[in-house]
């Protein structure tokens, strides 16, 4: 489930600055609300894993 409260405006402004995006007031507010989806997705995938659990984009060199 999504977080009940959206990220604070102050914290989100830091993320927007870091991303290099110039947003209108409306865009800022819409993305701030949408950030809850990002938080949910990140929470879904961030779980304890053995160090040996490799990502799917590991590739093997061709042998021919």
């Amino acid at each position: 489930m999504m977080p009940d409260e959206p990220i604070s405006r102050e914290r989100f402004a830091v993320l927007v600055e870091r991303a290099g995006l110039k947003l209108t007031t409306e865009q800022f507010e819409e993305l701030r609300q949408g950030y809850r989806l990002v938080e949910r997705m990140a929470r879904t995938v961030r779980r304890p894993r053995d160090r040996a659990a490799e990502p799917a984009h590991i590739f093997a060199q061709p042998t021919e």
């Binding site: 989806l37 997705m41 990140a42 879904t44 894993r49 990502p55 799917a56």
Partner: protein, 473 residues
């Protein structure tokens, strides 16, 4: 008789037998587009003259095969040399590619005729967006309703009889969602089965190209031309291409089918909330589909996987990260060139960390292995597609597709072949399920779909707007 009522297979037979000319078939489709597309908005560019020239040339020459003289459409993210390709975006409003998408080149070489470029959500993600230069396509079953996306125009055109077949793309469901809402067949092939070369990317590791058709046999015909190795697509697989039509049978005796029920019966509400609850009509239609498959001789067993949200969120996170990386420079330097939905959705990728992405890709490997293990003791699996009929188009908000359960994304994550086929109706709008299988078993997936289709009548039902024009009655 109105030749646009024929399936690709039927039209192909008549062309081969000399009973139907590619010229007459092309003119009939162009007539329908001119008469109906003002209301449906499935095309952004109709190639009247070029289609007629191609039809005349094909009519005068030896048959190239089953697709000889068959008019099709392309989602407007497929590059077409010398023909405007916009990706549905103001960013590329005047873009004229110098290359053809490889899959279009294969269809053209097989004798297909290009009727035009079809409406797409902006860059295959941003829609339905009424701020864009091209109006969103409308559902032909009820034009107040959403046809799904992002291959919206392609699905609408096939369902409404405005082309024989069409090409779409699918990163999280953009072929299968529109197929479901429009009551047609949509196939997302195995990752690497159909070349992605020359198609505007949304997400490199999740993008798939595939056909939208009225029937499974037509899908098999399209796949026969599309499948194959492309050394210029890094994801392309050098795997043998079987005879897809030869694999189609009407019985499924001895076939073992895994049913992934918990995705829609439990996980949708548990993970995404009450708004994602399947409708009672959908649950009944899915259960009926299972009974049909059993009556065809299949043996059904329940499969248990990780929760739906594990697949869906990994899929979406990867998509957002890769899509933002693709558009980052433009988002920073010329954001005014994008529509509202495109910007609002993909900009979320800016707030992911590299570690978020790596964790999603680690989860991807885990789930791919889990899914492969689940399929070891079955031949095919089935699961839900959209579990309620198409909503009204104005109700589709910026983030509604991210907030709700998605049943299509898991098979982009695993790269598995996945086909959407109709299973019924609710309030006059189509319902569908998905058939998925082992890598490169498009033949097996289509075999199940064909047997189900032939045992039911859903594929014969057309939206009222698909009826013959007066001049062809």
């Amino acid at each position: 008789m109105d030749p646009t009522l024929l399936t690709v297979a039927e039209a192909s037979r008549q062309i081969a037998e000399g009973r139907l000319s590619p010229i007459a078939l092309t003119e009939a489709y162009l007539d329908r587009i001119d008469a109906l597309d003002g209301e449906l908005h499935s095309y952004v560019l109709v190639l009247h003259d070029a289609a007629r020239v191609a039809a005349r040339e094909l009519a005068a020459n030896r048959s190239r095969g089953v697709l000889h003289g068959i008019p099709i459409g392309l989602k407007d993210i497929y590059k077409t040399r010398g023909i405007r390709t916009t990706a549905g975006s103001p960013r590329y409003l005047d873009h004229i590619p110098e290359e053809d998408a490889q899959s279009w080149a294969k269809l053209r070489d097989a004798g297909a005729i290009l009727l035009g470029k079809q409406e797409t959500h902006e860059f295959a993600i941003g829609g339905p967006d009424f701020t864009l230069p091209f109006p969103p396509a409308r559902n032909p079953w009820n034009t107040a309703h959403y046809p799904a996306g992002s291959s919206s125009g392609s699905a609408v055109a096939v369902a409404a009889g405005l082309c024989g077949a069409a090409m779409g793309s699918d990163t999280g469901g953009s072929i299968r969602g529109p197929a479901a809402y429009n009551g047609i067949v949509g196939l997302k092939p195995t990752y690497g089965r159909v070349s992605r070369r020359g198609v505007f990317p949304l997400c490199y590791t999740l993008d798939h190209c595939g056909p939208l058709t009225r029937t499974i046999e037509d899908c098999a015909i399209m796949m026969q031309a599309l499948a194959g190795y492309d050394p210029h697509d890094p994801a392309s697989a050098d795997a043998p291409v079987p005879d897809y039509r030869a694999a189609l049978t009407k019985r499924l005796d001895g076939t073992r089918i895994g049913v992934i029920r918990h995705f829609h019966e439990r996980d949708a509400v548990a993970d995404f909330g009450d708004d994602s609850a399947p409708s009672a009509a959908y649950i009944a239609a899915f259960d009926n589909a299972c009974r049909v498959l059993e009556n065809l001789g299949a043996r059904l067993v329940d499969l248990q996987l990780s929760p739906l949200i594990d697949y869906v969120d990994a899929n979406r996170l990867i998509m957002l990260a890769e899509a933002f990386a693709l558009h980052e420079t433009d988002f920073r330097e010329r954001p005014h060139l994008f529509g509202h939905h495109m910007f609002a959705r993909i900009a979320l990728g800016a707030f992911l960390s590299a570690a978020d992405y790596v964790e999603a890709v680690r989860q991807r490997r885990e789930l791919c292995l889990e899914f492969a293990g689940a399929l070891e003791n079955v031949d095919i699996a089935i699961s839900a597609n959209a579990t309620a009929p198409a909503p009204r188009i104005e109700s589709v908000s910026t983030y509604s597709t991210f907030e709700r359960a998605s049943y299509t994304g898991p098979y982009n994550l695993t790269g598995s072949p996945a086909l959407s086929a109709p299973i019924g109706f609710e309030n006059g709008l189509p319902l569908a399920f998905q058939i998925t299988g082992k890598p490169f078993d498009e033949a097996g997936v289509m075999r199940i779909g064909y047997a189900f289709e032939q045992a039911t009548e859903f594929h014969r039902q057309r939206p009222p707007i698909a009826a013959s024009l007066p001049q062809h009655q």
